[in-house]
């Protein structure tokens, strides 16, 4: 396959970023920007562009020059838009979340599987140098066993008309967790608390507590009402602990050789109290040099490569399903006052299948 013809669907908040990065990615050829509001699309492209504008998804999908679509429309429309594209034989990159519900998402995964088409989630964070570093470090055993995760994602955010703060912000944290955690440490149950102190009709502040296989716990705090922006994730391990502060570009990652160790019970007398069973390490901190690059460029490259190499992308449809399974359980927990609910498991992609 030579150059891949691409159409971007949706010229709203995220579409312009897709347009810009698609244009800068070798091997992709941007053919259309498609939006029901053609004027909006024209405005995004500006006066100096040769890219075509269309207000008809059908027209775009009918064009044989279009091999793939990148979808940035509201979540509720992901199922019909993506399904139409898959049925037209197009590869699909879709903005998170995969769909409005787990069941809708499953239909898309199956449709892509059946046709051998790429179905990829635009989990942008998973393509940042930070998360790439973390994936290697954490999955590679570099912090020992995972003891806890804590993510805070708060700021003054637009109250969304259709989703609560969990569905709006937590997909970022969840897709990052799924991307960096070792295979043996996976979410199995979730409890959620939320509140709506401004009467918006949906949770504007929420806390997720996630039980992981092996007993560790992950926590996510998302909040639309904080005037101060925080983007911090701590990943505690038995041998090292990582602190990621995404708002500190000069030092996003700090890897501490510090922590608490538990001595083996056989080393110490039975009577000794818990305090004597732990010891503390206070070592240096290392902030690795990380390149500054736009993650969405890497998303585009992965989309291109998964198509040309006929392999599942790093963030395939199933990764999107996993995020949906946690979100749905969290919403159910929220409705039930915060009890822990089990998370549906998603089987990994079968060999030879693409999405």
């Amino acid at each position: 396959m030579g150059t891949i013809g691409l159409a971007v669907i949706g010229a709203g908040y995220w579409g312009p970023n897709l347009v810009r990065n698609a244009q800068a990615t070798p091997g992709l050829r941007l053919q259309y920007l498609c939006d029901l509001d053609a004027d909006r699309a024209r405005k995004v492209l500006g006066e100096y562009s040769t890219v075509a504008v269309s207000d008809s998804l059908d027209e775009v999908l009918a064009d044989p020059a279009v091999d793939a679509v990148a979808i940035a429309t509201p979540a509720a429309t992901h199922l019909p838009v993506a399904m139409k594209a898959l049925e037209a034989g197009k590869h699909v990159l879709v903005e998170k979340p995969l769909a409005a519900t787990y069941d809708e998402g499953r239909l898309l995964v199956e449709a892509a599987d059946k046709r051998g088409l790429t179905l990829m989630l635009d989990h942008t964070y998973c393509y940042t140098p930070v998360v790439e570093h973390l994936r290697n470090l954490v999955r590679g055993g570099g912090i020992g066993s995972v003891q806890y995760l804590d993510s805070v994602r708060i700021n003054l955010g637009l109250v969304q008309p259709d989703v609560d703060v969990l569905w709006d912000l937590a997909p970022h944290d969840l897709s990052i967790f799924l991307s960096i955690l070792p295979d043996g440490v996976q979410p199995i149950a979730v409890a959620a608390h939320g509140s709506d102190p401004i009467g918006a009709g949906r949770a504007c502040v929420a806390h997720l507590t996630i039980e992981l296989t092996g007993g560790a716990m992950a926590h996510v705090h998302v909040n639309w009402l904080s005037p101060t922006k925080v983007r911090t994730m701590i990943i505690g391990g038995s041998s090292r602990t990582v602190v990621w502060d995404d708002l500190n570009p000069a030092q996003r990652l700090a890897i501490y050789d510090r922590g608490v160790d538990r001595k083996d019970a056989t080393e110490i007398g039975e009577q000794t109290r818990a305090q004597t069973m732990v010891s503390y390490r206070t070592g240096d901190m290392v902030a690795p040099a990380l390149p500054e690059k736009e993650a969405l460029r890497a998303v585009m490259a992965e989309f291109r490569d998964s198509i040309t190499q006929s392999r599942p992308p790093l963030t395939d449809g199933r990764s999107g399903l996993r995020v949906l399974s946690i979100l749905e359980a969290a919403s159910a927990s929220l409705a039930k006052g915060g009890v822990f609910l089990p998370i549906r498991s998603v089987e990994t992609s079968t060999e030879g299948v693409n999405a």
Copy 2:
């Protein structure tokens, strides 16, 4: 009453701070440092001190020059030590928590009430310039109605032999909440999640979610396993939001004139979506000038004044009971997998009574 004779009981972690501040407080006369281990007490006082050392609580309480005691022994001993002191007619300042259980704490409150003696909690944070400022601001309506509270208190902490991280650290957050919240916004139910990833036999990481009258939610994250220290509290209000970063001495408090407002439903058409019902304010931030002073000095002064003026101290025995009532409900919730449990209410001090 002239100068108040004082004995400090306990020469461990906190005792030396009590000794130092008692000596610097006019109107107090430090008579004894008492510890079962007299050598430890002697070492705390150093070679140049005229303060007496005793290893006998009875001896200390029998001395008529002792009017009051400040207790810094393990929580499990608070009931017997403080009760003995009250029965000997001494005023009592006790390190948090008031006692090991709510019922024990109640016995102390009743004993102090009966004898008209001061029973005061050393909730040190409540005497910092920051909390004093917050109390005036929040209780005085300066942030509008309270929308949410979020407190993070994490660091590499000593795993305690007898209490979990909730009982060790959360009393700080809870006593601060109780100190600054308006009367109409009080804790009514609590849910707790915790984990023990190092096998210490007790929760080392914990999250508290507290339901407040009026629908707002407070959240507390306490953690002994974080190599990076965080001490941050956010208090979101309808007109302003405050961020307190206690590790930034140059700017502990930041008061943002920013937030989200909800328009009245009558102002806008019924069909309009939630998004249009909220508006955003982006105003200036003010960091008030705050004095740097040692809070424990103010604790000592309040203890002295509550005795000489025969009035309840700011952090009286009932404030200690309130903290215990939340901690006990949280522990019960932890044991039941995180369900919300109601918090026992504590009546305020009856008029004319001192503790």
Copy 3:
């Protein structure tokens, strides 16, 4: 005048930013990107652009659709390129510094004056919301009288082939100073120290000390060898002091109601020592809400408006001359071991003249 036809000259480091912002500015119509290396220009425009590429300045200047040019070529070429454009009757926006020498810059100013054409400097910082706020505050008397300025601009920077660190970085600080200082507080003499510890053949670290009318002092530290990036400016005033940290987007400006006052000598006895003549204010700090916007967009708008309204732009040719006069005196001081040398004064624009 309707839409202004524009050509960008130079497709190197800064040119792409001019291209992007020109395209987004209503009232401007980007006609050409011109570079001796047409391939480089084509690469900057990308595959989707309708903008023309030219490798001939003559061709561009001969096109009557071109009303104005924006020049982003090396400083040594500013004189010939800008002069050619002015002689062809085009308005000129030129990247800092105006020219390689004061005398060259003067020729350009005179040429623009003679023809009534706009000659504008791209002192981008002067168009940021921060500098706009500072200009109003400082020139408007909001900090009292100016007591000192201190600017630090250090990072790991590309050692330039043709200029030292002073000429590379200090134009930013100098144009900001000139933009915000009141008319009665202007640079009159400068001393410079520099060093070249890596043997690059030119100063890589430099310090400028500038004497201002009225006795206040400004200091600039520029450095290509610092692994940590700092962009801080302090403007001390008699009633308030401003700290600008440009790397802290959440709080770029902090305005402190703190400082040192001097009591009038008549208020206190003659014998009293200096210490008693000063008093300290410790008030609040205010961080004003500032919009986040791209300054180069405002540069383009000012260029457009100065042309259509036939008025001198905020950063006219003379502001460029003033920066050159300080740089030349600084270079001379550097060569003479750091003595103070006077700064040539630049008369302000004559009425009715455009540049």
Copy 4:
């Protein structure tokens, strides 16, 4: 020699710190706190102390139980007080600066030499874990060759009645430089600029530029008028660069494996421009774990050990002379408008001599 009997002279700003740390140092026995104002001394000791108060230096020096004195009186009195103590055969620890002038300081060094007594400067910073780490790193070659030093020490400071900001603050920076620089990289000339924008009668803002053997340059910015406190030192080296932020206790030192290298001219063609002669390294940053300990405790221990071991202390009288030689040259440069002036060299201690 067994326990060393000590008297602290001066109960003003610094005296209480000497008292506290002397009492906590094994091997020292605090005998007196001496001040012309005995009440002030009594207040410093408090009501619970067994230490004697005296308002007579003669009385203190006549007491054979006093082996050594620690002097914290104004600089102008250092010569008479310290000389009297040395003549009485007492070892001397003196607050910086050693004396009011170089010549006075020299008399003290000679007097101590003659009698074989310890004369030690209380350059407290030199005993911090940070400076100890820096000394080993920089003198041990860990950053390659030194390329530049830059120190900023600014805050809202008390305008001193008798000294300008240079003499008040720069001794800290200078003693640190002298303590960490390799033997072959020493100050040889200094230029100073200063200003007095508040009419205090002495420089309140000052900049020092110091030429070092080998061509590197050190710069110091001291300022009493800054509402924001900065304590930063950068030490640029050919292989690594260190940034010390003393106001960031969680990460005081950051050691960057980043910098600029110069390629050997023989490796590249003669025509190649300077830009190609340098290359950039972007490696990790390491923040070493440093103990938190009170430096003044280490000062006291070094004073004790230099006495009992009859060896010069780390910060001996000559280190104090070196600081005075730079300060005097800086003051002369300030008076002459900022020209570079040579720094008097101080021979190192002769063998077998103690001070």
